[in-house]
Amino acid sequence: MTYKENAERYIENYGLSIGDTIKVNKEDISYTGILLDRPEDADDGYLVIKLSSGYNIGVAIDDTTAELIEKGDKPKIGYDAEEIPTDPNKQNISIVSTGGTVSSVIDYRTGAVHPKFTASDLVKANPELLDYANYNVKALYNILSEDMKPEYWVKAAEEIADYISDGTDGVVIAHGTDTMHYTSAALSFMLKTPVPIVITGAQRSSDRPSSDANINLIDSVIAAKSDIAEVCVCMHGSLNDKYNYLHKGTKVRKMHTSRRDTFRSINAQPIAKIEDKKVTVNPNYAYTKRGENELELNASIEDKVGFIKSFPGISHEFIEYHIDKGYKGLVIEGTGLGHVPNDLIDSFRRAQDEKIPVIMTSQCLYGRVNMNVYSTGRNILDAGVISGRDMTPETTYVKLCWALGQSDDYEEVKEIMQTNIAGEFSEKSSIRDFLN
């Protein structure tokens, strides 16, 4: 129960529990309905009553009395687990949840939304899944996307590697959208995979009829069955419920706070389009085919990496702080072609002296870092800063975490950062790759 002090005492005094039908009497009116729990962030001093019409109202408890009309049953949520049929002619797909809800049940009696994540819940909410594959479903952990930490990437990568060595034909990962592109980059670096690894989520929660969860999930399963053995993100390709894009895990970014088509390929094109249950691969894209790679897991990472955005007036203290605090590497989101104010450059030299790799990316997001054009850039290069090329700042951050996990040697880390590990950078900038 999330009622606070006064309301909690009131409820206890009258011997009431959540779910009971109660009557609250005020001087000139009384309300009868089911006592509901109160949202955690709401103020004290009010009861939430669900009237018989279905409406909730808040009733201030001052100068009221309450009476119990009928004890409520403990609401029974969800359904009995049911055997999910398996079909030997279908591929086996593993579905892993990291949090958020791919399926949830609304209890209309109390109005509560209960997240559910068992295979049978998933199939109940999306029965058409059975047309495509057999499923192995696991809730890996349950955290909000914004609470994701590098250590969780490791756990996910290990779990997925287990599934793959157990012979799964493809993996779908349900993920909150906020940090989905960090996870997709991390898995790209940590895993060499013989099967598709597809990350998906929803911009509209699955408790609403307009949710994009179902289409994203089905299309992800279709992608996981395909020939594209890469780590990718599968989300809506437009505002329409019409087609999804499959984005390369290292080249994708969340670009809008709320739209369904928020995920975009940055400095790249999507790998494939999924429409009417069919995967159409982008003809300009040479993808890694199913079975081409052997499974390989390199999940060690270093999570003490700083990520600093430059801005007019930024003080060198930002850099000094991270060095003082023992950060092992720094990713800078510079301006334009990859610049910071000149007075930061001495701090970069200090980082170089202390063998802390510093990688430069651009807050433009689109385009390539090039520090040879202006003298500031040349000075930054001279201070040992490495170009992040056309990588997104987020992918660069994840890559540096991973590179520092792979080696303690400054030069070796710098070498890894300049090696294309998982298609995270390209040498050529296409005329088409902007704002799409």
């Binding site: 709401a42 009010y46 009237l51 279905g54 909730n56 049940v105 909410a125 709320s258």
Partner: protein, 621 residues
């Protein structure tokens, strides 16, 4: 009809669009648009899990059919919120305050805290698959000439998107109306006479119109709940014309009585709807009926014991067969053929006999034919069977649509208990005494009270007063007269009539402020402009709203001449026409007035001109 004996019970539900500047949960304007849309977005809706229950592939498929939608977006008039691509913004407090006003006028109890709910609606009219709605007040009443009527609840909710068309498997909606704030008023079902319903609807309309609500077609929608003792509850949607209310009630009572009688006869005959769907393609191979010939397939079902009853009239011009057909139409057919109306539509007696023989049915039995594509024909006949079976139970609980002639037509089943849960994207909203009291202490006058007072207080004609109130200009009228000592009639007629014309001429009348009006009528009261110049001066003020009114009058030659100057001009004109005056004597008055006014219009008062012309003529004769 003896309504009491029949156990007639009625309740009203009224939806009124509020005139808040912005929508309930986003900053878009609350006006409908007829422009071409800028973006068309294609969506699906999916019933949520708790509505599906068991794994039932068939039920899911069924429910997903027809859940394909297109939404017309407008760059200027709509935003991402309507398109379900951005969370709702905070509750529109202006709309809430209008509801609080309405609640006070209906003696209601306002809730302590307003909770926005999601109410599942998956017909596509709400992009999210739910309507946002909340309870503002409960337990009010209205005193009517027929006794007290309880107002059960007042809700504040979002209006739905406007349906444009259904084509190629998609239903298209325009997003302009989605999110306009709507007050929902529900009475208890305690009304027993059609005249009482009409009176209550009228009174509610008066109350609403005294507050800041939208006017005009489609801004208020009245639904009627109705049942008789042996019948069932039916909700009739969209009763536009209050004068039709009694007729609708009478025809619905008649319909329920007829259906009850049909039920009794069906039971006596041990009537039964047979399961099997028969294929009649071969029988009609050489038919002359164009409708049958053009169809992919012709199918039929047998209704044992229904003969004669399908053709039975339940409302003027509507038969039991029409009721059955309206269910079938929901599955995409344009109609059905039933044995009570055949031969007709190019189907011959000979063909009817062949069908009768083929189906092997007796004299009391009936059949219904549907001609269409295979799956639609089957789906439609399933509905025919369902509705025919319901005939054995008498009246069916339904939502029906009011038709222009007072009849009603089936729309959909009655909604089951409201499926609502909290809209977690919007914080709970406390309605404190500090908010309610100033509103409660400053309630608007009801329109008829205001009208009567204005007639009395300002000696206006009833017509002018009615127009002022109807056009919501009464407050401006009173504000002008509170400060300017001027005849009320020209003020009222500018506000009630001229403004509308000026607007129609393409001027933006919203530019005019109270100060402008006061300036114009101060000039009139000081005799500086003529009554005839008021309209012209208003137009010129719209064109130069920042200029001093007196200057505008000056610049446009609207300032009146001094009496001496007027006299001088008139005596000159009269002198020029001396011959005519001599000939016609006072008969020259008319033509001379015409000549003088032509020159003096707007610069001299007509009465004064008349007086001087008369004097000048008299001097000459």
């Amino acid at each position: 009809m003896d309504y009491e004996k029949l156990g007639l019970k009625m309740g009203l539900e009224i939806h009124q669009q509020l005139n808040s500047q912005h929508k309930l949960f986003c900053p878009c304007k609350t006006e409908l648009v007829d422009d071409e849309f800028d973006e068309l977005v294609q969506r699906k809706l999916r019933p949520t899990q708790s509505e599906l229950g068991e794994i039932d592939r068939a039920a899911l498929q069924e429910s997903l059919r027809g859940l394909n939608f297109k939404y017309e977006n407008f760059e200027k008039h709509t935003c991402l919120v309507e398109n379900d691509d951005e969370p709702p913004h905070s509750l529109n407090e202006e709309a809430l305050d209008i509801c609080i006003t309405i609640a006070c006028l209906m003696n209601m109890h306002i809730v302590d805290e307003f909770h926005t709910m999601r109410k599942q609606v998956i017909d596509g009219s709400n992009t999210g698959g739910f309507q946002r709605t909340g309870m503002v007040a409960t337990d009010g009443y209205l005193e009517t000439p027929y006794g007290k009527v309880v107002i059960e609840s007042l809700g504040l909710e979002e209006d739905a998107a406007r349906r444009v068309e259904t084509k190629d498997g998609f239903t298209e909606f325009r997003l302009d109306r989605l999110g306009i704030s709507l007050a929902e008023i529900t009475t208890d079902p305690s009304m027993h006479h059609p005249d009482q319903v009409r009176e209550v609807a009228y009174m509610l309309g008066q109350i609403l119109r005294s507050t800041n609500v939208k006017r005009g077609l489609g801004t208020i929608r009245q639904d009627l709940n109705i049942s008789i003792a042996e019948g069932a509850r039916v909700e009739i949607k969209g009763v536009q014309d209050l004068d039709l209310m009694a007729e609708i009630v009478n025809r619905e009572v008649q319909r329920q009585l007829e259906l009850i009688d049909i039920k009794k006869q069906l039971q006596e005959r041990n009537a039964e709807v047979l399961e099997e769907i028969h294929d009649l393609d071969e029988l009609f191979e050489d038919t002359k009926s164009k409708i049958l010939k053009s169809a992919e397939t012709i199918k039929a079902v047998v209704l044992k014991g229904y003969d004669g009853l399908i053709g039975r009239e339940v409302q003027p011009g509507r038969r039991f067969g029409t009721e059955i057909a309206s269910y079938a139409k929901k599955r995409g057919v344009s109609g059905i053929f039933h044995s009570d109306e055949l031969p007709a539509y190019g189907i011959t007696q000979e063909e009817v006999d062949k069908v009768t023989e083929f189906l092997d049915i007796g004299e009391e039995d009936a059949f219904i034919i549907v001609a269409h594509d295979e799956d639609i024909a089957i789906s439609a006949l399933e509905e025919v069977k369902r509705r025919a079976n319901l005939g054995l139970e008498g009246v069916v609980e339904e939502t029906r649509k009011a038709l222009d002639d007072g009849n009603t037509e089936y729309m959909r089943p009655l909604p089951t208990a409201n499926r609502m849960y909290l809209e977690t994207d919007i914080p709970l909203f406390k309605i404190t005494q500090d908010r309610v009291e100033p509103i409660a202490n400053n309630l608007p006058e009801l329109p008829d009270v205001k009208q009567a007072r204005i007639i009395e207080e300002y000696k206006l004609s009833e017509d002018l007063a009615t127009q002022l109130v109807k056009r919501q200009e009464a407050d401006m009228f009173e504000a002008i007269l509170a400060d300017v000592d001027v005849d009320a009639t020209p003020v009222a007629s500018l506000l009630a009539y001229d403004l509308r014309e000026i607007k129609r001429e393409g001027h933006d009348i919203n530019v005019l402020t109270l100060d402008h009006f006061k300036g114009i009528f101060t000039l009139l009261s000081e005799g500086k402009i003529a009554k005839d110049s008021v309209r012209k001066l208003a137009v010129e003020t719209i064109k130069a709203p920042d200029m001093d009114i007196a200057e505008i009058a000056e610049k446009n030659n609207l300032v009146m001449m001094s009496d001496e100057d007027v006299s001088k001009i008139i005596s000159e004109i009269v002198a020029d026409n001396e011959t005519m005056v001599k000939e016609r004597q006072m008969g020259a008055m008319g033509p001379l007035m015409g000549m003088c006014m032509k020159q003096l219009k707007g610069k001299a008062d007509g009465g004064l001109v008349n007086k001087i012309v008369r004097e000048e003529i008299q001097k000459l004769i």
